[in-house]
Structures are given as structure tokens and as C-alpha cells.
Symmetry: C3
Subunit: 636 residues, 3 copies
């Protein structure tokens, strides 16, 4: 987890969108802008194989030749997120089905069900064909598999293929139907099954399905993504030693990225700060206005740290970086001048090897015609290009800096997202929002953070570990948390892996006598005050046991209990309480913190401290003076 | 309508959820807590009949034995709201279909269409089997039929079974298709039918269906519930003399509870004050915050009074009483300390024979795993248990008190809910909300209320009767209203039973010359002031005729007209206007009223006045001092 | 475009709803109220043809006789928006399918798919039968075809009939599938088709479909309405010389009204000011409360001016005028006293030949039983009748006045509505809302306006032309705009007819060097200030080029650029900025304007200026004093 900063720029390019005459000029302009990497091919199946079995790689050969000749390193994508129209003639039942039972039709992308065996084989086959042709080609420096698994809500499919595969998955997991009935508590409401073949998908039930049923379907669905992915990995591995990459999408949490990442070298993600702020963040309108042209100041960093954990040996990229306004969010303003540079440097500071802009030139047609690129549709430079060029210039003068292990770690667990989405208990309870709140609180105190999967069994080296919302704490993690200062909770180890309540009830922590005996969810605007400090909102727990109470609410009820370095937190803090918790815990374990000015964020590498001003106004701090959207760095 | 207060506590218990070893200890603990009644069996079909025709009652025999031996009286439920999975193999078409045309699948509960003849027969058959086995068993003191008819929006089904049954129902009701065409005014938009077989269910029409068509489907759907219910009643009646009970759900109004209640002895309902406040009440966020941990102060009492009217001879229970946080509302906070006791005493004060808590122990699995019981999943007492025990102790020292007829009555009519849901005319018009407003206004003046069905033909004994929103006033009720002081309206007798406008236009009251010549619905925030008194909101009518105007709005338009003791109210009052109306009418007919402090409510029995403090702060009144969530009583 | 004011009143009448005995009295009362025209028949198919091929026109003959004998001029409607139930036996697949794939069933009206060839032929056939019977009947002075095409969202149908017709339409438009693939940019995401038969309708795709695909479906759907309409036109033309009319519905924009209007003599529309305010206007709650009982002060006038443009030689009517509360809006208050008269006079001032009230008597049954008429269901006069009578009396004393060409014109283009609905880019972007904002700004300065289709090629005679939001500017219009003072933009000429971005990028105006190089959509509450003047909201563009900047925002960025009389506006103005733009442009081109008091509007005819007070309070202006809902006129 301490790779050097490679810090190269890349770009996504679609030669199939442009006349072949301009490819060479495009390539030259990329190089002159300081771009090193170019991703191609991931949506071009209809041009690679216009009819079943008839391959037309000549254009791709020429594109590779032009790009590589210009000095660019190529990432070649498998085009499996865009099966051509003829694929539906082969597999009329390959389409996913939504939770309302409607077939999700051809006409955009990701029109396939992960469980469809025929399409899975066809995906492996095109990967195999590509691997055969380009696997040993030295110009292909890396491979991308598919594109943004799960984007557009595509993990959960209610197709016949999924139903059969789910039944098989259940049979493997539970062996006997009695075991399943027992594990799920199907005696409740007489939901007992006589055979796996009777188990339907958990959609369209009269009222909510058994949460165990729903969570099993979530786990199954994640496994189907992994299996689908693995088929392509295996096909390519047979032909190439180049690193394999997938580009995850921000806050797409319906499958386990750690599991997908296990079989490939590099994690990457697609970072659209302004789109995400508008489209997929819980935040007040005031917060959204404040950061309208900058993006949320913690959303990108969170994902950077997450994918550093997902990538093998910490290797990760930003595969798609927003370069200007996008088209897909409810509102699509332009970045403040400087933000494209800021986002890029922030990624590098978090250890990105490559930041690759999406995309070279805005295509004037089809779904993303309003999504900007580094060039405008009329070939003129868009504002993002100059910022990318500036970063390229700065990179040349920047010494190699290295990721170093952070002092603080945060546990992130996909299954917890699925568990709490299945059983929220309060309309305000979203695991991701809780995580981002915790992460934000750490960052507002100037801390750098490592994200850890819940499979972690060793946290030595971290002074402080936070583990909010982990539905089921693995024993190994539970033990590891005793190695350092840790804050566990709220809603931690509250359920079994089957999404039932364990006995004894959680959190069942070693050496901390506390039991969550009751939970309450609270509507917006209602909070439980922690006098002089802050308040608990959304979620609050009744804590019993002999552990020392280290925080109380206005009624004297325990909000946090502790034994030495281990604390259990029994509620969802507001920002003031989070700040207190972080400041206090950091002080206890010897971490220096200081509150940062509004919108300022830091990131420490082995040699430097980077500063990022997400505010739309200038900011002075640590003797530095940053303009709006400013970036600064200093040797530590 | 003047049965004695039996005032016993009960609990819902699921022996099938727990190891047989702990049944006896559970029973002993119930008894020691002061519990008399235990309800079992209503969700256990898959354990009673694991395969079609193979009955396994041994466990149930043993459970009954254990519970009865401990001294508990048993209510045995028919398990028909949870048909086992194998039932679908017998009747693949038994599932209900929602208004969007989607089959409502197996995997939770209530997965049946009330119109499916096969499933109806199967339900009667299991009731018959249970009746044969336990009908003469002296340990079974009462029977519950099915569970919460209509919960989860299950009354209206758009299945093929429903379509055929609806056509038959129409043929019976109208005899000829011409009669139907005329009754519904199908000449409008050329909607005339040539045969009953052409009449489809009124969903998925291009724009709204004929309201007469929609209301007929509502009436039919209610009748199907009654017929389904009756089949079970008949099956059990053949074998037992124990009282039959159904547990209605709060604010589930899609079928006529009076009709269902006609064939059984005891009405009961499931009272979840905090869940209902969050889930199914029109109220401002401020009101919902104010009563967040108490529930709305009038919602429970309203239902208590309603089910006293539904039960034969006024016999009614609370079959399920919320004992702590539930799982199914948008937000699920815990009751304030004292509220479980308050709710229990309030039910007794309104005449409940039994208040039965749902449930004994929180099951750690399946859909309701987060729904509390008197015991926690780990077998420790939950906070509700001590409150139940306190009530049990108090009950022993309380003399028998008796329900007495109230001075004030309120007419409640299910068909009016259906009529106005079909034809709201204003997005704010909900019959139930109007009723609860009227009921609340009476209660805030300290009054006790009886609820009367619209089939009432004698109101002597009541000093004041309110009849707001009765879509069609039966002649008998119309005449009865002349017997006392009455306020009729708004929107009363405005339509025929076919949901057409009568000529002469309503309200057509005896000896009150008033015609509603025009109606208006108003958006939130718009009101018509009644100077110095209050305002009309949501709904306002233009009144014409020679009757004396007894209230005018700021423009001088009539808001209420009267002749002697009979008044017609032409708008939906805000709370100030309601209070004026009630105070004034009470004064006129010699009823003492006084405004109660915020959150305080009273209830008079023959011998006592009970006080309930729904506020989260202490309250002093009538020389009494009540803590938050306090209960008091005094001899009258 | 300068027909004389015919100014007659009409009414919609349904003899089939009423006993034949009262027809004569109804007719006499109409005449005595001053009504000249009566529309009949448009929903009566089941009475004209109760079984396939069995026609029963005797009742209609008698109704025509009674009405005509009383002196009324008859508009006879084809009943094709209400096919009888038996039609479904002939064409079970004639029903439309909604975007979610659900068949839209019989039981209300408009239950047909415009693409169904069988039903289209059946519609022409009934028109033919009617034409044969009544085409030469001198009592039938005009014909209405169908009723409110597109009402209830009926233009876009996803049926099999539509799918096949769409494929044929595409084949005609593009000739080869390669041409389609190229035009749509289907290479993006490998969406290329091999044949037209592979092209599905653009609903239920995984994420949004190709905008070119979606827009093509919109154009196709509009063409299907036109073709359906044309079939009826041709059937009637063979038999009659009486003028043909269609009654368009307010803000139903899914088909091109200009195209439908091309083949018939008279445009008419159905004007429900209060219903529209509640139901289909973007406006703040404050605005909606302010005009609750009056309707928006510009919505009617906009449509009047629109349909004057749609009608041949400027001939247009109001076919249905709201006479009191309606039933179909979320809230349905009554008009302020005087508003029915005001609306009527406003229509005449804009050039209406006839204003026809919907409807004579409120039918006490079926869907519109709560929709008022001039008479109540009990036959008594409703308040609207007296206002109609007042207008009739005033008309007699009013000299003939004439429409004159306005000084200002506004371009309205249906395809732009479809384009921006397909590709809004910001959740706040609705073409119609932008148009109404522009229109309102002109009106608040006292201006009268002509609306022009985008096919206009000559604007001489207009001093000022506004063209906001025209997706694709036809060359002829582009050239015409150079003939006068014009403000083009925002979002003008931004896309091709295929909904792709042109190169060079728009607006590509003659003699104005400006390119929109970037666009941004802004959330509510965010705006870009134009200091001292107003602000840009919702939508803002980055303008580049050498054109003179004539407005700048607070950052100095260009908001408007101009060359001589031609300006391009790069954002969506708020009301203050609109007012400045209009005042300034008017001054530049020699048009007198003055800001009108709140709620007051004017309209100039050749000889008079009319004043309409939409406020609920009196108003003084130009030496006139108008009560609330007052109308005044003065010779110019
Ligand atoms: Zn992407
Ligand atoms: Zn229940
Ligand atoms: Zn109409």
C-alpha cells in the first residue's frame, strides 16, 4: 500500500466517432498537451464485430497504430457493456428485468443481465478474441474490462435467468431447503419453502419480503457481477500480462468492489464531482449551492481512498475525470476555473497513478452530446484542456512523492450498504451517508485517511480506526480493533450475515460491556442533544452494560461508552458532535489535528502536504494563501 | 352498548418461533406479569399443514397445553392471511393484482385475492379443520379470523378472479346492462356496455374511469371481503360457541368494518400510535414532532370508539398494542416512558375488554425483526413489560367501571371514504381527515364520543350529533337527525349511492331549506376567513335557500345555516372554527365543555373520568397534576 | 391575419344527456341568453352507432331540428375520441400503450392509438357517414373533428401498431438503415441497427435512449396525429363545404398544431384558466394563490394568439370556455365574479370569432359531474350564465372591431418543445415555460403580440421579433430575422433537426459573430446577477465571438451580444431582466411601452384598446378605473 506516485495524465478517446483523417492530429495534440495514456474501444463492439463472428479490427489496428506512434500508451477496453443489436437475436432473454417486472430494452447501454449464461459466455468470447489479437501487443499497456459495472441500476435484475441462477446459488449456499428456511426464519408468516425451485426473486411481494431473502438476493447479485467479471478476466489472462483494470462508478454500491478488484491489478473510478453533488448526495440545498461548481469537498477523496484499498497493492487510477459540464445530473453547471486542475492534483495526492479525462472531444451526437470533453464538438479547446496542460507542466517539476500509510483508517463494507438498504428502519438511514459523514469529519480536521475492507485483520500502524455501520463485524476485524484506538458504531455488528438479530445482541465487542438494547430512527429536524457539544440525529441507540459512559445526551442517556482505547458510539452524530469525537479521539491517540477553514482540505504524502481549496473564495491557512479552487503543496 | 369493563391484558405469542423448551417459562412469565389472554396461531399455516392435507397439530396441541396449564386464556387464529407456498401450486391464479396490473407475489403475507373462489374455499376448509379440532376445546376462549383484512392495500385486486366476480356482482346488482348504463350515466363519453361481460375493472383507463364504475368496484371489493370472511365464520360457527373476533388495522378503510363485524361477536383493532403518526396521518411536521414519541392524541381514541360501534353489543378489544418501537413506519422512535401504560388505560377507559400487546418476544428474524415486544430478542425485558405490569397491578385495585352512552355522537361511514377517494374534487379532501378533525375538536373540549354507523335510525339519548362528509344520507338517518341537535356537513348527502348528483341537489334536509349550489376546493394556505372566529379551508360550499344563516365568511357568504337544532355546515373548518362550532353547539344543547390544555384528553365512564396527558411535559388540570405521559382518574 | 371580430357566443350541448322533452326549452333559453352557436355530437358515438353498422340518427336529427329551429347555428362533432365498446371487439389491439408498457384500457375516452390503421379507417368511416348525412345540411354551419387531440397524454403510444408504423416512417425518412445510423450517431454505445425492423420504440431502455431516436419518435407521433386527422378531413371534405374545426387543448404540445391546422379552416381551443393555473403551470405557490380565482393573466392570451396563428386566415374560436369550477385540476375554486365575462372579452379582443362555453348544463353523472356549466344540474342558472348574458348584451352595442397585426412577434415551434423535453440538460428547462416568460414580459409592458410559426419567412411589418429556444432555426426564418429588430436565444439553433450538435456550433446567425461554446443549467435559487438590472436563472451560456457585448453579468461575462438590430441572448432572464430587455428593445425600435400595474393586461385591436384586470383588487390606469376582474375598452 505504498506505491510511488506515477502521476500521468490520460484521456478517453473514441476513434470510431471521428473521421480517420483527424486521428493523427488528435494524437499529436494529446501528446503536446502532456497526455500519456489513451483509453479506447470500450463501447465499440458494433464496429469490432458488425455481424456475429465477422470481426472488423482493421480500423482499430489503424487507430492503435496512430495513437501509439504518437507516443501514447493505450488502454484497450472490452466492449461488453454495449452488446450490438444482433446479440438480442442470439439471446432474446439476455435483457435485465427491473424490480417492477419490466424488461429493460435495447437502445442505450448495459442492456444485459449479469446472470445470463449465454451473454456471459459471449462476453468472455469477445474478450478472448481481443486478447488473442492484442494481448501480446506491446502498445496495449493495460486493459479495461467492461465499463462501470452496475451503473444505471443494473446489478439487480429480476429476469428468469436471474431467478434460476439465484436458486442455484441458494442451493449451493444452504445445501438444504430446511437450512435456508431456518437461516431466514421463514416460519414467520408461513414463508417456508419445500424446495429451492419455489424460491422466487424478492420483488413485487405484497408487502416487504423477508430481509434475509432480500439480502441473499443482494449477495447473489454481487456474486453474479464478480462471476461475470471473472469470465472476462480469465479470457484475457490467457493472452496477456498487461494489467487489467475496471472503472468503477462513484457511489455505485450494489456489488462488492473489493471482490471484483481481487482478480485484477488496478482499480479505477470515474470521478464527476459536480454531477455527483447534484445527482447522488444527501445534502442541503445550501450545501449544494455552496459547492455547485466545485463538487462536494470530500466525495472525491473518499472514493480515491476507497479505490486505493480496492486496487492490488494500492494501484488505482481515475479513469474518467470530469473536464467541464456533464449532461446527466439534474443540473449541470460548469466547474469553477481551476477545479479541473484541483481535482486532478487531488487524485495524485491520494496516490492515483493516472488521471484520465473523459473525454478528448465532445461528440456532437447521441446520449452524451451535452457532456463536455477537453475539446469542443467543433474541435476548439474547451476550458478543461488548459487546466490539464497546466497540471502536465506542474507534474514535470514535481518530485516523485509517495503514498504513506495514514494515521487514521475507516472501515468500508459493501454488504453493510446492502443490509441497511434492505432494512433501513428509518427513512434517513443510508450507510454511505453515514460513512461520508465520518470521513468528512476526519477531513475537516486535516486528516488523511486509509479505507479498509471489513476483511481486514490487522490495523497495527493505524492510531485510530473508525468503524461505523458495519452490519456484521467479522471476528478477525473485531479482534483487530483491539490493537489500536477505535470507535465502533453506530449500528455495528447489529445483525448476522443472514440479516437476523444475533443473540447475545450486538455489538458484542471484546472487553467492552455494552449491548444495544433498543434503536430509534428519528425524522429530519428531531435530534437528541449532547449538551455543549452537539447532537445525535437520524439514529439513536439505547446502550446498556457496565462500560464507562463517555458521552451522554441531555437526558443522561449514554451516547458513547468506552473501555480504554475502544469506544462504542450509539447514535448518528451531527457535524458538531462528529468534530468533537474526532478531535477528542485524535488527541487521545496522539494525532495532531486542527479544524480547517470552510472548504479547505489537506492530503499528506510521504514528503508533501497538499492543500485544496474547494471554496469559491480565497483562503489563508498555514501561512499559505489559496485562491478559489486553488491548490498548494509544501514539503512536510 | 353498555358492557362492563372487563379490563384484562393479553399478548400475542408465536410458539412456532421459539424452542419448545422455553414455552413453559414464557407462559409463567406472562402470568406473573398479569397477562390473562394469549393469541396464537394466526400466521402458522405452514406448521399446521406443511403439505396439502397433511396436518401437524401436535406442536399446537402442546403449546395450547402449556399456555392453558399456566392459566392463560387462548385466542386461536385462523392462519389464512399466510397461505403456505404450496397453495400457489393448487391455485396459481390466487394472487392479487395491483392497480398497475402487476401480480403481487408470494414472499410476505396477505398474498391472496379475496375474489378467488378456490382460495376462499381453502380458507374455509382450514377454519373447518381448526374448528373440528379445537372448537369445543374449553381452553380456546375466542377465535381470531385471518389477520388485518385489507392491510398492505389488499382489498382492491385487479385479478381475473376479481374481474369475473365483479361482473357477476354487477349482474346481481343491476339485473340488466341497460340499468347499469343508466345508473352510471355511461352515455357520457359513449361508455355504454352491451353486456356485463364487457365491463372491465376500472384500472389503467386512459384518464379517470367513471366514478360510478369506480365506486361500484369499491363496494364490490368490500363485499368480497365480507363474503370471504363469512365463509370462515360459517366454518367455525359449526363447531364452536366461543366468540369470533377479527383484528382490524388502524385507518384501513377499504372495506366496511360494520359489515364484517355483523357476523362476529367482538371487534378488535391493532393500535400502533407512534407508527400511525409517522405513517398514516395528515399532520404538519410540527405536530408530528410534538407527538413523536406519544402518537397523535386522538387517533387511538377515535378507533376505540369506532370499534366499540363495530363490535356486537359494544364488545371490543385492542388485539395488538404497540409496546415499543415498530419497524414499519418511516421513522420509528421509542414511546416516551409511560406511554405504553397510557395507551393501555386509554383503551380500557373507552371500554376495551382486553388490551393485548404485540408481541411477547421480539423475533430476531424475518420482516418484523425490528418490531419490539415485551421481551427483547435476547429474552430480557423490554421497557414495555414493566408498564404492562404496572397496568396489571393498577387493574386489580380498580373497581369495575362501565361504558356509558356519550352525550355526543359522530357518524362514520365507510362508503363515504370510498366515494370521496373516488371523487375528491380537491387534492386535500380525505374523508378520514375530516372525521378526525371533527373528532379532535370534540375531544379538545373534553367530550366523550360515540361513533355511529350511517345505518343508525335512532339518536335519542344523544344531545349532539355530528355528521360531516356522509356522501349519501340514508333516509332513516336523515329523519333521526331531527331528534336532537345536529350539525350536518360539509359535503353531506351530495351524491347518490351510485355516485351521481341527485336532483334536487343536496343536502336535502327535512325542515332546513338549504341547497349546496356550488363547491370549491382550495389549495393549502388558502382559506376563507370567518371573522373573529376562524376560517374555512380545503373545501367550501355555496349555500342557497331560506334557512337562517348562522355563520358567515368575510364576504358575507353563508358558512352555516340552521333551523332550530339542525344546522348545515358548508365548509371544512380550521381548528379555531371547529372549536367555536363545538363550544357553541354544546352550549346550545346543554353539554358542559371546557378547552383542555395542549395534549390533555379525557374520557368519561359511568363512574370515573380518566385523564391522559399526551404531552411530553407535565400538565395541571381540574386540580390534578399529570406528568408527561401521565394517566389519572377520578370518580365523577 | 386581419379578420373582423365576429364575436358570437356559443355553448356545448349534449342532447343525449337529457330527456328529449327539455331540448326545446334548452334551445330557447340559449337563444334568449344571446347564444348563437351550439356544438353537439362529439362524444355520442354509442348513440349514433350502437352496434357496428347500425346507425341511429333519428335522435340527432330531432336534436338538430330543435336547435336549428330555435335559431341556433350548429357545430357537429365527429365522435372519434370516444369509440364505443364494440370497437374493441373489432380491433382488440387498437388501444394505446403507455411508456411503461401498459395497455391503456377502455372506460374513459381517447382510448385509441393514433397509429392503428383499422381504427383510423373506422374514424374516417364514421366521418364519412356523418358527412353523407349532414354535409349538405344548411343547419350544420361547422364541423369539429374529434376532440382535444393529445389530451390525457395520448399522442405518444408504445403499442405494436406504433412500433410498426414507426419503422415504416423511419424507412421513408432515412431510406437506408445506414443513413439512420449516421444521422443518429448510433456508433455511440454500439447502437447501430442492421435493419429498420430492429428499431424499437424508445421506451424502457436501460438508461435514456439516443435523443435522436427519441426526437424521431416525437416527430413520428406528431405526424401520426396529423395523418389520423387528415383521414377525417378527407372524409368530410367530400361531403361538405362548411368550415372544419379542431378544438386544441391548452398546453398540449405533443403534436404540431400548425400541421393539423393546415388542412382545416378554423383553429379553436379549450380555455380553462383556473384549471390550467392549478394543473399545468410552473409558478410559485404565491403566484398561484394570487391568481387562484382568475387564472394566470397571460396563459389565455398566449393561446389566443397562438391559435390565431394556427387558424387559416387567422380564424379561431374558443370552443370550450370555463364557466365556473371544473373537476379535473388539483384544486378547483370558483372564478371571481366577473372573470367569465373577462375571459370572454379577452378572447374577442384577441380576435376570436366565437367563444363557446363548456357546457350548457352540468351533467349530474360520470367523469365530469363536478364540472360546472351555465346551468346547474338541477336546471337553475349557475353564476356563469349571467356573465355570458352580460357579454351578449355588450356585444350588441359594440361596433365591429378588427384584429390588426401586432408590432411584436414571438416565434413558437412545437419541435422545440419536443427537442428540449428530450434533452432538457437542466431539470428546470421547459420550452413552454421559457415562451410564457417571454410572452408575459411583453404583456407586462402593455404590448400586443402575434405568434409566428418557425416556418415564417417574412417578418416585415413587425418592429420586434423574439425567438427564444428555437431548437433549429430554419434558414428562411434566420434570414427573416434580419428584416427587423430581433432577439434570438437563449438556446437557439443549438441543434440540428436530428437533435445533434451542428458544426459550426450555434446560433450561427447572419452578421452576428457569436458562438455558444458552453451551456450550464442552474438549480432553483442559483442565479447569475446582471448588476443593476436583474439576473439569469435556470440556463446560461458562454458566448464567444467578436460581436458587441450589450449585457454582461457580474463576472463580466457576456449575457447578450448584438449587431445592429439583431441580438443574441445567452441565458434565461428573470422577470426583471426580461423587463429591461423588452423595454430597451422596444425603445430601440420605436415601440411605446409602459409597465402595467400588477394583474392588468391590455390588448389592441384596430380601433380599440381593451383592458383586463386579472387582479382581485381594483386598479386605476390610463384614466380608467377597473374593479377586480374588470374589463374596459376605449377607442384608440
Ligand atoms: Zn462513464
Ligand atoms: Zn399486526
Ligand atoms: Zn374538454
Amino acid at each position: 500500500m505504498s506505491s510511488g506516485l506515477q502521476r500521468a495524465l490520460g484521456v478517453c478517446y473514441y476513434p470510431e466517432h471521428w473521421p480517420e483523417e483527424i486521428w493523427a492530429r488528435d494524437a499529436a495534440r494529446m501528446v503536446s498537451a502532456g497526455i500519456t495514456w489513451v483509453r479506447i474501444g470500450e463501447f465499440a463492439w458494433s464496429r469490432m464485430e458488425p455481424e456475429p463472428g465477422r470481426f472488423t479490427f482493421d480500423w482499430l489496428d489503424r487507430a492503435i497504430d496512430v495513437l501509439a506512434s504518437a507516443g501514447l500508451r493505450i488502454v484497450l477496453g472490452t466492449p461488453t457493456c454495449t452488446p450490438p443489436r444482433w446479440m438480442l437475436d442470439r439471446f432474446p432473454d439476455m435483457l435485465a428485468v427491473d424490480a417492477m417486472g419490466r424488461v429493460r430494452k435495447f437502445g442505450s447501454r448495459r442492456h444485459y443481465c449479469f446472470s445470463h449464461a449465454g451473454y456471459r459466455a459471449a462476453s468472455a468470447a469477445i474478450a478472448d478474441v481481443l486478447g488473442q489479437r492484442y494481448g501480446q501487443d506491446p502498445r496495449i499497456h493495460a486493459w479495461q474490462l467492461d465499463n462501470e459495472y452496475g451503473c444505471h441500476d443494473t446489478v439487480l435484475s429480476y429476469s428468469e435467468a436471474a431467478r434460476h441462477a439465484f436458486q442455484d446459488w441458494l442451493a449451493t449456499r444452504y445445501d438444504t431447503i430446511d437450512a435456508l428456511n431456518t437461516a431466514w426464519g421463514n416460519v414467520f408468516w408461513s414463508m417456508e419453502y419445500d424446495s429451492f425451485a419455489q424460491v422466487d426473486l424478492p420483488n413485487l411481494t405484497v408487502t416487504e419480503p423477508n430481509p434475509s431473502h432480500a439480502l441473499a438476493f443482494r449477495r447473489f447479485s454481487s456474486d453474479q457481477v464478480v462471476a461475470y467479471h471473472t469470465a472476462q478476466v480469465e479470457a484475457l489472462r490467457a493472452h496477456t500480462d498487461a494489467p487489467l483494470i475496471h472503472n468503477y462508478m462513484g457511489r455505485v454500491l450494489d456489488f462488492d468492489h473489493f471482490e471484483v478488484g481481487r482478480s485484477i491489478e488496478i482499480a479505477s473510478w470515474d470521478s464527476y464531482p459536480i454531477g455527483f453533488l447534484s445527482d447522488r448526495l444527501e445534502a442541503t440545498p445550501a450545501h449544494k449551492s455552496h459547492y455547485l461548481q466545485q463538487g462536494d469537498p470530500d466525495m472525491q477523496a473518499f472514493h480515491h481512498d476507497l479505490y486505493r484499498a480496492v486496487g492490488r497493492d494500492g494501484r488505482w487510477w481515475v479513469m474518467e475525470q470530469q473536464p467541464g459540464p456533464v449532461n446527466w445530473a439534474p443540473y449541470n453547471p460548469a466547474p469553477l476555473p481551476g477545479m479541473v486542475r484541483l481535482w486532478t492534483w487531488e487524485a495524485f495526492a491520494h496516490g492515483a497513478e493516472v488521471v484520465s479525462y473523459f473525454r478528448w472531444r465532445q461528440a456532437p451526437f447521441a446520449q452524451e452530446q451535452m457532456h463536455s470533453g477537453l475539446l469542443r464538438p467543433d474541435d476548439a479547446p474547451a476550458p478543461g484542456l488548459a487546466e490539464a496542460e497546466k497540471v502536465a507542466a506542474e507534474l514535470r517539476s514535481m518530485p516523485e512523492v509517495c503514498v504513506q500509510q495514514a494515521q487514521v483508517a475507516l472501515v468500508f463494507d459493501y454488504a453493510s450498504e446492502w443490509a441497511w438498504a434492505t432494512l433501513p428502519q428509518g427513512a434517513g438511514f443510508r450507510y454511505f451517508a453515514l460513512m461520508l459523514d465520518a470521513y468528512r469529519a476526519l477531513r475537516k480536521r486535516g486528516l488523511s485517511i486509509d479505507i479498509l475492507p471489513s476483511t481486514t485483520s490487522d490495523v497495527t500502524g493505524y492510531k485510530l480506526v473508525l468503524a461505523p455501520g458495519v452490519a456484521t463485524l467479522p471476528e478477525s476485524l473485531k479482534r483487530a480493533l483491539g490493537q489500536t484506538t477505535a470507535i465502533v458504531g453506530p449500528r455495528c455488528n447489529a445483525v448476522t450475515e443472514e440479516l437476523t438479530i444475533p443473540t447475545p445482541m450486538g455489538p458484542d465487542l471484546p472487553d467492552l460491556d455494552v449491548t444495544v438494547t433498543r434503536v430509534e430512527s428519528l425524522p429530519p429536524g428531531v435530534e437528541r442533544s449532547v449538551p455543549g457539544i452537539g447532537a445525535v440525529q437520524h439514529w439513536t441507540e439505547t446502550l446498556e452494560g457496565s462500560a464507562q459512559v463517555t458521552l451522554r445526551d441531555a437526558d443522561g442517556a449514554a451516547v458513547m461508552v468506552s473501555n480504554g482505547a475502544l469506544s462504542y458510539l450509539g447514535g448518528w452524530p451531527d457535524s458538531a458532535l462528529w468534530d468533537h469525537l474526532i478531535a477528542d479521539a485524535a488527541a487521545r491517540c496522539g494525532i495532531d489535528t486542527q479544524p480547517l477553514p470552510d472548504g479547505l482540505r489537506c492530503r499528506d504524502t510521504k514528503t508533501h502536504r497538499f492543500y485544496f481549496n474547494y471554496a469559491a473564495t480565497p483562503c489563508a491557512f498555514d501561512g499559505l494563501s489559496l485562491p478559489a479552487a486553488g491548490v498548494a503543496w509544501a514539503r512536510r
